[in-house]
Amino acid sequence: MVKTSISLSIALCLSFGGLQLNSAHAKTFGESSLKGYRIPFVKSQVDTSEYNAKTDTIGQMVKALQKFKNAKDTINIREASAVPNLSLQQIAKGHLAGLYVQEPNGEPGTEQSMIVQGPSGILFSKKDVYALQPAVYLNGVPLVADNPFAFDVQKYDYNRVGPANNLLAQINISNIESVVLVKDPFELAKLGPNAANGALYITTKNAKAGIRDISLNTYFGYATAPKVNTVNGVYENNFRRPFYEKYGNQQRYDDYALYLRDSTNTAYFGPSNWNDLYYKNTPTYSADLGITGGNERANFRFFGSGTKNAGNADETNINRYNVFFGINMAPFKWLTVSSNVNAVRLDRNRNKSLRDRFAETRYIPDLSTPLSPNKDNFGLYLDENKKNVDNNRTTSINGNLTLSSKLNRFSLQSSLFFDYNEGIRDYFTPSTLMDGVSYISTYFGYNQRMIWNNTIGYDFDLGDDHSLDLEVGHVYQGDTYKYNYARAYNGPNDYVKLVFVDPGAPGDSYLNALNAGNFYVFRYIDKELNNLLSFYGSAKYSYKDIFKLNAMVRRDGSSNGQPDSRWMTTPAVSMTYNLKDQLFAGSSFFNQLELSAGWGRNVRIFLDDRYAAGPQYRSESGWYEEPTIPGYGGVLGINRPYESGFIGYGIKLPYADRTNISLDGTFLNNRMNAAISVYNRNDKNQLVGVPVPLESGYSVNYKSGLEVNNKGIEFLLNGQIIQNPESFNWRSSINLNYNKNEVTALPDGYKEIINGDNRLEVGKPVTSYWIYKNQGIYNTDADVPAGHTFNGIPLFAGDPQWADLNNDNRIDTRDKVMEGNRLPSLIGGWSNTFAYKNFDLNFHFFFATGHKILNQYQATKYDFIKREASNDITSVKEVSSWQSFEKEKTYPIYNPWSDVNAYRVDQDLFLEDASYLKLRSVTLGYDFKNASFLNSSSGKFRRVYLYATALNVLTFTKFTGVDPELSNYNGLYDGANLTIPRTFVLGLKLDL
């Protein structure tokens, strides 16, 4: 067993005592030849070459951070820093080619997903989303993410238990120097198994030498309330009328929804003005301060910030406090020590939706009376909600300590990286909101990662034309994931909001809350370790400035692999050829032109330690509605994992093979840069549950062998289109990614696999829908072909006409087709900055197209008969459903009482084009640094930038719901997620 906690505390001590790493290109970044504007990648290349030549001591160790010299795909930090984004996902959205960011919820601080160059695996459940996320490196620390194992004890997977804060909301853009999307096969192979899904490499602004440097950034603004068309019971009655006119009978009229019967009831038929209390213009603000100073032998940076990011609905917001401290020291000429620590606290105010509450409490009270659309009634409900306790706190600390030394041609580097974050949730809801039963839950969980990395390099002296660097290294990574979660019902009253213990009880039983008061307590504890050990050797060879060859081989061992296959050796290679010097040496058009190609393999490690164990026994004896039955007769039982699926021997570690070819050039006197690349990635040996005869007792059998291919083409163009330092400038950058995804193999030679409502088929996208084709309605019984059934149920007038694709006169799963993709095929972004003298105007568009949504919101709305008849989580009617939407489609009036489930969501009737184009942000700014009134007073300001930004300005889409981004991982749009607010801020950036 690894005592990583001890090592962690050592690391903490060291880093507080300590020191920090520098990013060299920060220095050159500050002074741009283009007055006020710059092209970061062009600059960074220049930086890089400059940097390579450097031998200064502090600069040496920056090597660790400067891994991505060839990366073109970076975010323009200067443009992005004027946009009041909270999370890394929001910052990166639409700025990086091949990175698809979906913000499924406008609620601040909620989890968001990123997918780089297409999905590498299945997306059957919420858990799978976690396995597709790219690694995020912060100053070289691969940040540890929440582990989805907590879903094992959840009945509903809308949110992970605990605070469910977006851990990537911890990074403040004001402290970021660069964000690089790493897609190059060689570089990813060098990063190792963490980066199997790609990587985002973030370097913060760092300590550097020079005179004191202070920057202050602040903004204030509002997330604005949207305009909504509210409706009341009249609308609902009108909506229902045609169904009753067509299919009603006495009994059906008798069962008419009670709350809609009495039109004099002002709760449902009075003014519908719930939105006054629900949607509000909410202030959103931030302030931060960064100080850098020191000399060449010792320097530091401090950064502190406080941010409140607000949503516009349901009083949702998140507070973030961030402190960063970094130091570099060179006690000897040959030794440099650097360290930094980044600490964050996130406090989130969550929504008060019924669905999320019931999902947490796993307790569905009587739902026959929905929330009233009337402000007065709804207000009473909100008043009761004030008794709630809902603390969602994440505290995170991460950092590194690096020692680099150089002796002649040897260099040695030893680094310690750590990341620890803990989440706490205290939740209480009073008996008045749950039919007389109060509910309490507490959650404490942490994720911890500890990395020790050592490298030794040797730089051969081969004359002027040749250069060869060798490096060998070793990385040990230890991850620990843990949570304690307890739920309790029926506290003694609504004032006791904690599970209390009985201090008077004898012995150890004083902690037994079960006997205290009337609490009925359920407890869940889980912990998992995941260790990774790697060795690698790499070589870099270059011939003049013409040809570069990188090659490496690494061996990784994961404790989550099965004993006979936990080690794997993987190679990677890349080549770069300088075409400019070879073909266009004399050309003045090209400044640079390079062709590069690479191939690399990354091991992918399992997030769950179950696969390492082979055939196993777990405590799984519940059923769909009650998944966490603890045992029988007071004994915690163990049995084979019948519910979750058999795990046998012979499970191999999955891996990703990447090939990449790119051509990039800089031309027109460094004003334009373009890059085009094609990639091909095969994610092989992945685990998937294959169907087994259910008479075995198991739901599925996990087998290695799922192979998913993603191939695509990317295009990047950055340019200073109009360059006129004294008057008008126009800078533009475009990124595009086209991705094609398909399943290329399934385990055991299967051609198709059905898993619940999902199906995988070789040759089809892994995220394809599997749906019935709807061809209209049977208007009369006579229209139904004789003997035509839906799964054996005869069809009648008012039932949908589904296509009988195999012509067996019976509609069943064999008539479902694979159609539409949940993920887009073409994504991109377009950013423009216009500048005139000290003014500048930036706007940023991004788009996604080629994907579809299943509109579950409408399916549920039309299926009101069954929804209201069943008292389960899908029957919940939120207050926000008292509205109608502009573009809302009308669907055929089927018989909602029919046993064939006419409004089933898995049919193309509800499939919609989800393509969109969004104007993400507009910023107008003015730099006062040359203003005479400032210069006359102090003359010290480097930048005094006042700006106004509008965020989420416009959306162009054919989608008929509110926003095509608000669909869940499975492509279902359920209308339950809060809308992404339109936010306006006024901000100031001060550098001195």
């Binding site: 307790y363 009376t369 060795f535 007769g633 004994v635 005869p693 259910l694 008479e695």
Partner: protein, 532 residues
């Protein structure tokens, strides 16, 4: 000069030190990859080693079987709705079951018609039968007798699963070993063979299991897994349980000679659990125990010896659940905060079923003039609440916490006595049948006689309908009744055609369809012909 030499020395020393540290770290880390045992599961290396493993694995078979029967309230959906006494208020899926639309497209119907949940229990039982003896060599605390008794329980549970399934689906694949890690495709086996297997397994097991665990039963004297009889009664199955299941299999097959013998064995041995070893006795229960959670006898609210075959949900062990209990379907205000129950027994049905004015379960109390509320609350209202079974956390009869603790009770004294009456009646022992029948309803305020109930078979089934209402029996009782009666009256209708019970049964109509998921996963499984 001195300084620089010193500098170089320090430099070299440090350099060497760091290199050494790096190498040491590398060596030490290897074991960190190979030696990370999971704390979240038991593997082949850790299971089947100790006494505790035997206990945990055995109890899980009970747990899986409990889940199989009650999941999605399946025990009641399949037992009480078809041709049953309940009227559905709103739920379309329940209405479909009542209307015999068993292939209707609803998630709950799809799930209950999937038999995987039973096969999970069967597989766990087979695995236990095959593997548990490995512990004998490794843990001296685990005795041969203990192991034999455990295996016998596993065989009993597996046999019960096959009987339970074949009542629902008719022919089901008979799988008698775990085929651990091997996924074989099996066809359906004829019901006769399946029940034949179950019968022989139960007969074998019955020779091994004791009448009491953890008590003074000479078959298994002393504590059982450290617990006495009062902690095990109602939880684990005894020799009486084996004979009850045997009697039911025989009755289902029309073999009433055996049914009479087996049920006689059970009734003759009531004394083995009657006031012994400090536990509450096995006995017929009065109205308070039946409907008011009376502490010593209630089979629903507590785990008592009165649960002869069944599965408790003990609140104290964190087993109260929302789903898996009849209360979720039948209770409403004023018992729990819910405006309408999901199903109820209509006024007309109540009057038709409870005809005896002295019946304590339901009748008008002649003294007070009010209707008795033991079974039905608010008889005068539009929706009388069926409140016979009402066990709210922990064992209240009403409250706000809609987590229920009622046991799934398959058989209790009244039930097996009525089965004995049925067997005797079928065999022509009319006097014996009346005696048994009146023994069963002795505490219900009514007496059956040739005068008030000349058709003894009908009287027995009428009494079952009343006594066992809401216990998942109705549909299977109707089948046995119809088989005994061989009536030519129309029983069901299919495609506009009237069917007698015989025709309906021959067409496979008494069975449920198998879910499409089962057929998709194993192509050798055929759909019940009635549901094609």
């Amino acid at each position: 000069m001195n300084l620089s030499i010193r500098n170089i020395k320090i430099k070299r020393a440090l350099f060497g030190l760091t290199m050494t540290a790096a190498l040491l770290g590398t060596g030490a880390s290897c074991s960190k990859i190979d030696d990370v045992p999971s704390t979240r599961l038991a593997s082949e290396e850790t299971n089947w080693k100790t006494l505790e493993d035997a206990k945990a694995n055995l109890m899980s078979i009970y747990g899986l079987m409990r889940s199989a029967t009650v999941a999605d309230n399946g025990h009641w959906l399949m037992g009480d709705l078809r041709e049953g006494d309940f009227t559905i208020t709103n739920r379309s899926d329940l209405k479909a079951v009542v209307n015999n639309q068993l292939n209707a497209s609803y998630p709950v119907i799809e799930r209950v018609s999937n038999w995987r949940r039973f096969y999970a229990g069967i597989n766990a039982a087979s695995l236990f039968i095959e593997r548990s003896s490995e512990i004998l060599e490794l843990d001296p605390r685990y005795t041969e007798l203990n192991n034999k008794v455990d295996i016998a329980q596993a065989r009993m549970l597996r046999a019960y699963a096959y009987f339970y399934m074949s009542r629902i689906w008719g022919d089901v694949p008979l799988i008698t070993s775990s085929h651990d890690g091997d996924f074989i495709k099996t066809e359906r086996t004829s019901q006769d063979r399946v029940l034949g297997f179950a019968t022989s397994e139960l007969l074998d097991a019955a020779q091994v299991v004791p009448f009491r665990y953890g008590g003074t039963d000479p078959i298994y004297p002393g504590l059982y897994y450290g617990g006495g009889w009062s902690s095990w009664n109602g939880n684990v199955w005894t020799r009486l349980s084996a004979y009850i299941i045997l009697a039911h299999i025989a009755a289902w097959q029309g073999n009433y000679i055996d049914a009479a013998t087996y049920s006689k064995f059970v009734l003759d041995n009531q004394s083995t659990q009657y006031y012994v070893d400090g536990a509450n006795p096995l006995d017929y229960i009065n109205m308070d125990a039946l409907t008011e959670n009376q502490n010593n006898y209630s089979p629903f609210a507590y785990k008592r010896a009165t649960v002869m075959v069944g599965f408790p949900f003990e609140a104290g062990n964190g087993l109260s659940t929302a789903n898996g209990h009849i209360e979720q379907l039948t209770l409403a205000s004023p018992f729990i905060p819910k405006s309408k129950p999901e199903m109820f027994v209509s006024k007309d049905s109540i009057i038709n079923i409870f005809t005896d004015p002295k019946d304590l379960r339901f009748s008008k109390d002649l003294v007070s003039g009010y209707y008795r509320t033991n079974y039905f609350y608010g008889f005068d209202s539009e929706l009388p609440i069926f409140n016979k079974i009402k066990v709210l956390y922990p064992s209240q009869t009403s409250g706000n916490v809609t987590l229920f603790s009622s046991s799934m009770v398959f058989s209790r004294m009244e039930e097996i006595t009525l089965l004995r009456a049925e067997a005797l009646a079928a065999l022509g022992d009319i006097d014996g049948a009346y005696t048994a029948l009146n023994k069963a309803c002795n505490l219900r305020g009514i007496v059956y006689s040739t005068q008030n109930s000349p058709d003894v078979i009908k009287a027995i089934f009428d009494e079952r309908r009343k006594e066992l209402m809401g216990e998942g029996w109705r549909w299977y009782d109707i089948i046995r009744y119809q088989r005994l009666k061989r009536s030519n009256a129309p029983f069901a209708e299919k495609d506009g055609k009237q069917l007698t019970f015989k025709e309906f049964e021959d067409a496979g109509g008494i069975y449920w369809p198998v879910s499409q998921a089962v057929i998709n996963a194993n192509s050798s499984i055929t759909q019940n012909p009635y549901w094609l």
